[in-house]
Point group: C2
Amino acid sequence: MSLLNQTIARITPLDTKAMEEAQKRLDSLLKPQGSLGRLESIARQLAGITGKIQNKVEGKAIIVMAGDNGVIEESVSSYPKDVSKLVAETMLTGLSGVAVLGKFEGAKIKVVDLGLDGDIDNPALIKRKIKRGTGNIAKGPAMTRDEAIRAIETGIEITNLAIDEGTNLVGTGEVGIGNTTTSSAVLYALTKESLDLLVGRGAGLSDEGLANKKAIIKKAVELNKPDPEDPVDVIAKVGGFDIAGMTGCFLACASRRVPVVIDGFISGVAALCAVRMKPESREYMIQSHGTEEPGGKIIHKLLDMEPMLFMKMRLGEGTGCALAFNIIEAATRMMSDMGTFADIGM
Amino acid sequence: MSLLNQTIARITPLDTKAMEEAQKRLDSLLKPQGSLGRLESIARQLAGITGKIQNKVEGKAIIVMAGDNGVIEESVSSYPKDVSKLVAETMLTGLSGVAVLGKFEGAKIKVVDLGLDGDIDNPALIKRKIKRGTGNIAKGPAMTRDEAIRAIETGIEITNLAIDEGTNLVGTGEVGIGNTTTSSAVLYALTKESLDLLVGRGAGLSDEGLANKKAIIKKAVELNKPDPEDPVDVIAKVGGFDIAGMTGCFLACASRRVPVVIDGFISGVAALCAVRMKPESREYMIQSHGTEEPGGKIIHKLLDMEPMLFMKMRLGEGTGCALAFNIIEAATRMMSDMGTFADIGM
């Protein structure tokens, strides 16, 4: 059996018995029942994920999938392609948004080159390039089915390695100019929701640029005819290496029973792909912040998740995950350190 | 001049020149302009508060104002009065929600007894009791005008001391059974908004309890006739010692140019009182989380502030401030540690 199929097969539902025990503990803590809201639901979810009532965040990592997108030939982005490589480099040198926020929150940043159209000379880069950028989805498929599976499986492998090294809280990040276009195309192919509802301005398109982006996405889906019942086909035909790698990351975390944080829109599209492959994978995911991309709201609805943070952030990279890590760790401390009514003799 | 009037007189607008310089730095960082959203607006605000582009969080404290409320005779709370003292004790022994979250976030918790109807034997308690609980506002004023001013000034003194000790990020918390009733009464007196819009279930009232709470608030305001143009009069007649102390805390922070975080509904009502006394004090405040109390939305609108966190929390104590501290510190790190386009030769 392939690594992808093995991983999917290993994903099982949450441990409801542990969640019930966690709820008992939560209700014994010194507070009105339910009054710590999302901290309580996270603590319950973590119990379901690990099977333990008390959880400790031992290692945090944000896995950043990097790849270029051929569709930027169609002027769908306000930035040139070279910026993908530049941003990935600044992640490695500690200068980018996710590098700074990740360091502040005590998380490792693992940057994976799955498909950058350029080479980075830095030993910290995880070099797993499948191809130098995808094809232009307005003219043909992004990649072959085999390449899509390789990219997903690479995401699984890298995530499994991070977990083997002691990571027990994972964040998902990406870099790839043009990836709000490919993500919107994947979401459109999977849902057939109105393009007006799901396409946004990415890093900062004009009105004209936005209209062009919608037209290109429509064209890409009409031309490539991805099968909405087959997420691998959708990713291969209109997605990107970053979306594929993150999909693998979500599946790997679920198969290893490790909580995994959704960042913004692109990460959310990958989460949706994972859930379409295996619905139970959803239970291992935690939504960090509300994205400014309009498609984000559709994703939250489809995944039935509410963001915890509303930061008006639209940088991507995994920056929202870094902030969410602190909240998730706070939930574990609530569970382990708060007193109970019994402690004070009530 | 009284301490209260001195403090109010010292509050001046933000340093707009520093904010412009901060904006230049923000726009030079390696990201699309504005793409770090609220982190950027916080960094800009901190520059306006301190006059410095780069800020460092050196000391964090959550100042918790504790007091009992005579109105609980009217069955407006699902908890008995003794719980105020019990909760304050668990804050000092490290078992309460804010104690645990504050410790996790590296913040000191300073618990001030302004009006508990009971004595706590713990040297960590800041003992500044003005009276053993307020009067029942359904039958008369909560306190005299002199007592209200003393409570506000005590809040100012304690906050000034914390700042003298090195605190440069302040959170506001409270404990006092019945304080969503007094807070709703203050908000109703100040705004005359519909009681249906501003009164909620506090820690967990029934439908019947909620109807009674509204009736009591209406009665208290009709009986005591607080002057909506005079926040001290409103606090004295239908407020509480906790609201008074927190109002002092907000004013002191603004006068000392230190950022101060609003927690939930009760803290928001105190913030509104401070802003009504001196509109410029608003510029020193940062809203942490969205409260579940319906009056919270009215406060956010009146203060023109949007919460960053939506945690469905309704514990109070200052718990939302603890989580917000991490985000505020993240904003300072973004400002100091991210690279610029110039750094990478662009």
